[in-house]
């Protein structure tokens, strides 16, 4: 268990900047997800925490002590790679016992600890097999066991679920959460899948292009996104975005003019989540362009004064058809306004 602090962490590879100044503070025992698209620097940050890469500038601290120069093998960090990285020439048991070789643990002791961890992760029946004889889910659990057997201060997971199929993913999500709660080990999960992040972690760090966009709970990120990127990354189906121009207490969006509660100037972006738009007789007229049944709900695309809009309706059956004219409305509090030049969210609200 360790408190982790990243200060202005930066990593450059021969001129290309992978991580461009990350500040982060993670409490002991927390479960953090680092969420972002591929190439945003999240894996690089993870590997710097493990000591595999050295930061170009900036500081990494465990419990307040600077650990930039500490070798990977001395950091007592457990890491599960996306490819699992199991040693192909060893059995599962040998793989799990491997970290204990370097901790001067007696062989019998090491074997007992390995078997205990194997039981915790439900791989006790596979201990004599080789990695090539295991399925993806089994390999992943072996990798997890190997990371945990050394009682790490910090557990790092690099896209651990992305190579698993959907049903396995669901069960492994619960498994990992359960294990983390029992062992109370500080855990950092890196993923590009927002469902993984929101369902597993206590807090989420959204990263983009080497920078941290926002840190918060799933609810915070959803309801109060700080930037355009966060608003469009979180939420499925993605948020509707409309370019507009603000002046004189209102914004002009496409063919519509939306009054503002407060002042704003310049180019803005109006954001409306599909789930916050509903069919309401007194709303803006719109014409249905496409109907997509998605199982539990139906996604509609419609053209209205604001432009092309997507909205959801609960229920498996579509109540409207292509070409229908409907009236759409939304609650002003659900609308988000962003400054188009820098993506920052503005405090100004839509008028009722």
């Amino acid at each position: 268990m360790a408190r982790v602090e990243l200060t202005e962490l930066r990593k450059e590879w021969a001129g290309a900047v992978a991580v461009a100044g990350v500040d982060l503070s993670i409490e002991d025992g927390a479960f953090i997800a680092v969420l972002g698209p591929s190439g945003c620097g999240k894996s690089t940050t993870l590997l710097m925490l493990a000591g595999i890469y050295s930061p170009t500038t900036g500081e990494i601290a465990f419990d307040g002590a600077r650990v930039n120069d500490v070798e990977a093998r001395d950091r007592n960090v457990g890491i599960v790679f996306q490819s699992y990285a199991l040693y192909p020439n060893m059995t599962v048991l040998e793989n799990v016992m491997f970290p204990l070789r370097f901790k001067k643990v007696e062989r019998s002791d090491a074997e007992r600890r390995a078997r205990d961890i194997a039981a915790l992760v439900h791989i006790d029946a596979l201990l004599e097999r080789r990695p090539s004889q295991l399925s993806g889910g089994q390999q992943q659990r072996v990798a997890l066991a190997r990371a945990l057997v050394k009682r790490p201060h910090l557990l790092l997971l690099d896209e651990p679920l992305s190579n698993l199929d959907a049903s396995l993913r669901l069960s492994m999500r619960t498994e990992i959460r359960r294990i983390q709660r029992e062992l109370r080990v500080t855990t950092i999960l890196v993923t590009h899948d927002q469902i993984e992040a929101t369902t597993m972690a206590d807090r989420i760090v959204v990263m983009n292009a080497g920078r941290v966009e926002q840190v918060g709970t799933a609810k915070d990120l959803y309801e109060q996104p700080r930037t355009l990127f966060v608003a469009s990354f979180i939420g499925s189906p993605p948020i509707n975005l409309f370019d507009g121009h603000a002046e004189d207490g209102a914004i002009k969006v496409h063919d519509a003019r939306v009054p503002l509660n407060g002042s704003a100037r310049g180019d803005v972006v109006l954001g409306l989540r599909p789930e916050s738009i509903r069919v309401d007789g007194s709303g803006t007229p719109a014409r249905i362009i496409a109907v997509e049944p998605m199982g539990r709900e139906v996604l509609y695309s419609a053209d209205c004064a604001l432009g092309r809009v997507h909205f959801l309706e609960a229920g498996a059956e579509a109540r409207h058809r292509e070409g229908d004219n409907v009236a759409l409305a939304f609650s002003p509090n659900d609308a988000l306004l962003f400054d188009r030049s820098n993506g920052q969210r503005l405090d100004t609200r839509i008028a009722g």
Binding site: L47, A50, G51, I52, E71, A72, R73, D74, R75, V77, G78, I79, F81, S83, A85, L86, Y87, P88, N89, M90, F98, P99, R101, F102, K103, R146, A147, K150
Partner: protein
């Protein structure tokens, strides 16, 4: 047979002749034919006159009973092959591969290029350099260092320790091939395995033992067999540096056959000696073939039209 099929067949045969014909012709004339000729020659009495008068087993009986030099040559061959193989071609090559992959990439590439220099330069030049280095006078580079830096007496390696010279000379060449193969094998180990091992607490030696060596098992066995064969058969550098001497002191088996044939004119005897090497060569080639992954090489063709 319909016209289309007949034309197909004609083209098929034409293609075969066009594409494979030249290769088959060359191989038959200058690879297969010599092997057969050697087989026959070993049982004749051809000498300086290049005439064959009888067929005889005399060459083999001479080999088995009357040739005292041969025993010496066999002994020298054994020492030469074993020493060069174990010290340089495998061990030192491994060392070079490990060290040049442990330092930054550019530096590693530079030193690998340096160690490829002997193999890449013409054998005559390489041999010449060795002769200059071990020159018994004060001119020799080695003697310069020994005399001026270490204060020792000058050495005449070429005459006193010729075996050492040829082992070193061939060793430098041999190490470079292994170095390349092993480096390539090390580079193909997925990087994540190294990361995982480092995070698991493994130090550099443990990483070499658990991650690198298992991946090198196959290349090492292949190299061992391949280089053994190569050392058994090649005598180019020995011929150039010591000529097989002084007298016959560094004449390995393959060179012995060559000298008997071209220096003494005993072509039939040379052929008989070579026959033994040919048989060994065929066996070793078959073993190597077994070791290689034939399936990967035999990708089935997907177009059946000609």
């Amino acid at each position: 047979m319909p016209d289309f099929a007949r034309a197909q067949l004609r083209r098929q045969r034409a293609n075969f002749a066009l594409f494979l014909g030249p290769a088959l012709l060359l191989l038959a004339c200058f690879f297969i034919a010599p092997a057969i000729v050697d087989l026959v020659l070993a049982f004749t009495d051809m000498d300086r006159t290049l005439a064959i008068t009888t067929l005889t087993l005399d060459n083999f009986s001479r080999m088995a009973t009357r040739d005292t030099r041969l025993l010496g040559a066999l002994g020298i061959t054994a020492i030469f092959v074993l020493s060069t193989l174990t010290i340089f071609n495998v061990t030192f090559a491994l060392l070079l591969a490990l060290v040049t992959t442990a330092v930054p990439r550019g530096m590693g590439a530079f030193f690998r290029a340096v160690w490829l220099l002997p193999r890449m330069s013409p054998s005559v030049v390489y041999a010449l350099l060795w002769l200059w280095v071990v020159d018994p006078n004060e001119r020799g580079l080695l003697n310069q260092i020994l005399v001026h830096v270490l204060g020792m007496a000058p050495l005449d390696l070429r005459n006193d320790h010729p075996l050492l010279v040829i082992i070193l000379a061939n060793g430098f060449i041999g190490a470079s091939l292994g170095m390349i193969i092993f480096t390539s094998a090390i580079r193909s180990i997925p990087e994540h395995l190294f990361h995982a091992a480092r995070a698991d607490g493994a130090g550099p030696l443990a990483i070499v033992r658990h991650i690198v060596f298992p991946a090198l098992r196959w290349p090492i066995s292949y190299m061992t067999i391949h280089q053994t064969l190569s050392l058994l058969v090649s005598f180019e550098y020995i011929l150039l540096i010591t000529g097989g001497g002084p007298f016959y002191d560094t004449t390995v088996f393959s060179l012995y056959a060559y000298r008997r044939a071209f220096e003494n004119g005993q072509y039939a005897y040379g052929a008989a000696l070579s026959l033994i090497l040919i048989v060994i060569g065929v066996i070793a080639a078959l073993v190597l073939w077994r070791l290689m992954d034939m399936r990967r090489l035999l990708q089935v063709p997907r177009i059946e039209v000609h």
